[in-house]
Symmetry: C2
């Protein structure tokens, strides 16, 4: 038996325990390599990675150190007696192997995998294995099974509402933050919209990052219900909600391994919406050579898959294929994107036209979920709401209700990226711009990002700036600058 000690280390979901090298009970020199253990002593055994310590001030030979995650999951006081054994592989690992070899997995097998993920029986490595094994091919019924499993036990119910709408974009297009504008318009119209927003996964900024510049996005179920009733719109960081635990783990691993597949993304998006109690969803699928979805054919597959899964699980999905050939708006990164959003809502002359038009189009599609609205009127109603200032007013209500954010500061390390040619901007590479933005620190710091001064079709002279890099620290700034040297993402001729 070892005595439990809490080490205040947070390892982002992964359970870690620390054993002294001179421990008498468990001989460390016989522990050859990375080891997963089961820690006993609490209500249920907790799986954890074993790390070895040579410093008595961290843990002594008769103690077992537990990081924050393990300590919380053990739910035992410091000094409690705990014991270890080598963890057996989760039974569902056999299904990962079967999937790797090209088999179709059953609904039960997906449930079992997701259940093991939710219950922290999978290490991050196991989650990565599942994502890659199922990444090459999943049938539509498999995607349905995964989605159903991901919804999980805990689901929000909004009994006062006939419908709760939402909008989600499949991503791949920098700056594409129509969501906040859409939420403002739809809420102003009076249709309850619950935007469950993500932090950046593979992009410079998620909707939750952008709205966090303006308001608190860390809300609980009660608060969401109240704001939905009173302000008709909510933008909440779904990572902070006690929903879809396995989804969140999968997303964070997708981000880390840099590989995410359509079927997983569809499953994750629809599971979040279903768990959040959303009934009607407009799904934006941007298509472009350098977007996530490269061709209309691919977009149609995604659309049909989302429709099929939505239909089977009781979520009305209106999937819309849009132009994803270049970034939307000018800002890329949370603060710069929030600036664009506010320009649109304030009807400013310098508001990005593409962001404005796309938001109106998508908001119109959502409004048409309302049976009372005459067909084909969505866009015009949305435009009228925006122009009248009612959308801005609705967003201010939402911001006030969620809690206004502290002002943040734009990255003070800046550099103008200068055109080396004269001509017309023929293309802007979404992926390159996204990478440069991430290198500049945008996925970590709200004040970092890129401010695009030229878009496709614009004329440009030699020496004119194409965009401005903003960073908050010199390491990120140097990296972004060195990336730009190799390829700044613009094609001019």
């Amino acid at each position: 038996m070892l005595s439990l000690k809490h080490l205040a280390i947070s390892s982002f979901n992964e359970n870690v325990v620390y054993l002294h090298r001179d421990c008498e009970t468990y001989k460390v020199d016989e522990v050859g390599t990375v080891t997963k253990v089961e820690v006993h002593g609490g209500a249920a055994p907790v799986f954890a990675f074993l790390e070895i310590v040579d410093d008595d001030s961290l843990v002594s030979p008769d103690e077992l150190g537990a990081n924050n995650e393990t300590f919380a999951r053990l739910n035992l006081p410091e000094g409690a007696n705990v014991s270890l054994n080598i963890a057996p592989l989760p039974a569902s690992v056999a299904f990962i192997r079967r999937k790797m070899m090209g088999n179709i997995l059953s609904e039960g097998e997906y449930k079992s995998i997701v259940n093991d993920i939710s219950n922290h029986r999978y290490s991050n490595m196991d989650i990565a294995s599942f994502l890659i094994a199922s990444g090459s091919f999943m049938s539509a019924p498999e995607t349905l099974a995964l989605t159903g499993a991901l919804v999980g036990e805990k689901v929000f119910h909004w009994d006062n509402e006939n419908m709760v709408v939402d909008h989600h974009c499949l991503g791949g297009v920098p700056g594409n933050k129509t969501d906040i504008i859409i939420t403002a318009i739809v809420a102003a119209y009076g249709l309850p919209i619950l935007k469950t927003a993500a932090r950046s996964i593979t992009s410079c900024a998620g909707v939750a990052d952008v709205f966090a510049v303006l308001a608190n996005v860390n809300l609980d179920e009660n608060k969401i219900g109240r704001i939905l009733t009173e302000s008709r719109g909510v933008i909440a960081d779904y990572n902070r909600l006690p929903l879809v635990g396995a989804c969140k783990l999968m997303s964070s691993i997708e981000r880390l391994i840099g590989i995410s597949q359509q079927q997983h993304i569809i499953s994750e998006i629809l599971a979040i919406k279903l768990a959040a109690g959303v009934t009607h969803l407009v799904l934006d699928i941007p298509v472009g050579e350098t977007s996530r979805i490269k061709s209309t054919a691919e977009a149609v597959q995604v659309r049909k898959l989302a429709e099929y899964v939505g239909d089977m699980l009781g979520l009305e999905v209106d999937a819309v294929i849009t132009d994803g050939s270049e970034p939307i708006g000018n800002g890329v990164g949370a603060m710069l994107e929030a600036r664009d959003v506010m320009k649109v809502l304030r009807n400013r002359d310098d508001a990005p036209k593409d962001l404005l038009e796309k938001s109106l189009f998508l908001a119109g599609r959502i409004l048409e979920f309302d049976p009372k609205l005459r067909g084909g009127q969505g866009y015009h109603v949305a435009k009228e709401i925006l122009n009248s200032g009612r959308a801005l007013e609705a967003l201010n209500h939402i911001i006030y209700a969620q809690g206004k954010a502290e002002p943040s500061r734009l990255g003070q390390l800046t550099r103008e990226i200068i055109s080396r040619a004269s001509g017309v901007v023929r293309a802007i590479d979404n992926q390159r711009i996204n990478h440069i933005g991430i290198m500049a620190g945008a996925s970590q710091y709200s004040g970092a990002g890129l401010d695009l001064l030229k878009k496709v079709g614009d004329s440009v002279d030699v020496g004119e700036p194409l965009y401005v890099i903003h960073s908050t620290n010199s390491g990120d700034f140097a990296l972004a600058n060195s990336m730009v040297e190799a390829d700044n993402g613009y094609t001019i001729n």
Copy 2:
């Protein structure tokens, strides 16, 4: 800039750095989820996982803690200035994605992946992703490319020898430790045999674990050369050799995720042999319903693949398909297997006959690599060497030269597993026996394992013991016992 602090934590190859939550330079609350960072300050940037600390006694807000791995790889003194940025994804991750989608990768792409693994630019998760992505299918030229890449820069050369032989078993059969007997016979004959042995990967005990019960297996290049010259045989733990870094990482991840594929295993085995300077290899491919290789057809594929890769890379491979239908010998687990090995070498009457015969057969195949030996004489010569006691003498020389091991102690927690039926043992499930042995602690503790008292074909009465479980700690013992309740691995009728 942060000040570097060494935290004496060993995370088994993974780099980890620890940042205080109140760090001023890097705002932790903006670091949303698991994050890979690049640490700058040393000769080259070091990739590491970021963990967050809330305890000033571990790291203060202006310090960056580094675990043993990161600290060694940074090669900087404590107090050195270091900085961070979010790590870019290794470029070769794009090839993993391509492989996941079913593409054939080029030699250059495998080189690039292996190079990133060797240089610790891959996290364990990335390595798992590569293993799974390439696990479903690899063409023979891909396996060749991977093998070539895994051999790496550093290779041993044994200029005094015309040939250096080795034997390797593909695994899947508990207790199958012919290697030590073969080494003794071949060394006694005078052919230099360098057995590069592994610690357990998916089995109860690797050859290195078993021989470690008898002798030191942690040898360096000079010592191996000297022992090879003087004693004609060496059994070295390849994990301790400065060879095939990427191989070792891949093996340890295969063990953790519980998934290992033929092509990877062939690549890893052949790469180790090539890097160790082995010129001639007998590859044992045991076939059995519950072995790693299930059918002769599969075994023939493996054989041809090993021959092809060996031929292309200059390693003479004699691949032998053997009977893998049940465990070999009686002991399963390092100490119990070492006991069986010594019984055979001592020509004891109670030596397991199957282990004896298989060892002679395979040793004979190796001896026939000697051009001076008349064809077909290998087995008889091997038998004569064993019977005469010269093999035991040779092994004692090797043990003395490598350094005799401290005596170890068999697990004192024991239980006889009793037959519930009378009849004849029809089958013993290799995988089940392996799992029960691992649960009993065999892959971690040399004294843990199973002692099989009955083999296929033996008669058994109700109440007679089938095997004995040995454990060194009560957690493992309880787990093994509970596994036995569900299925003890024996079929009797």
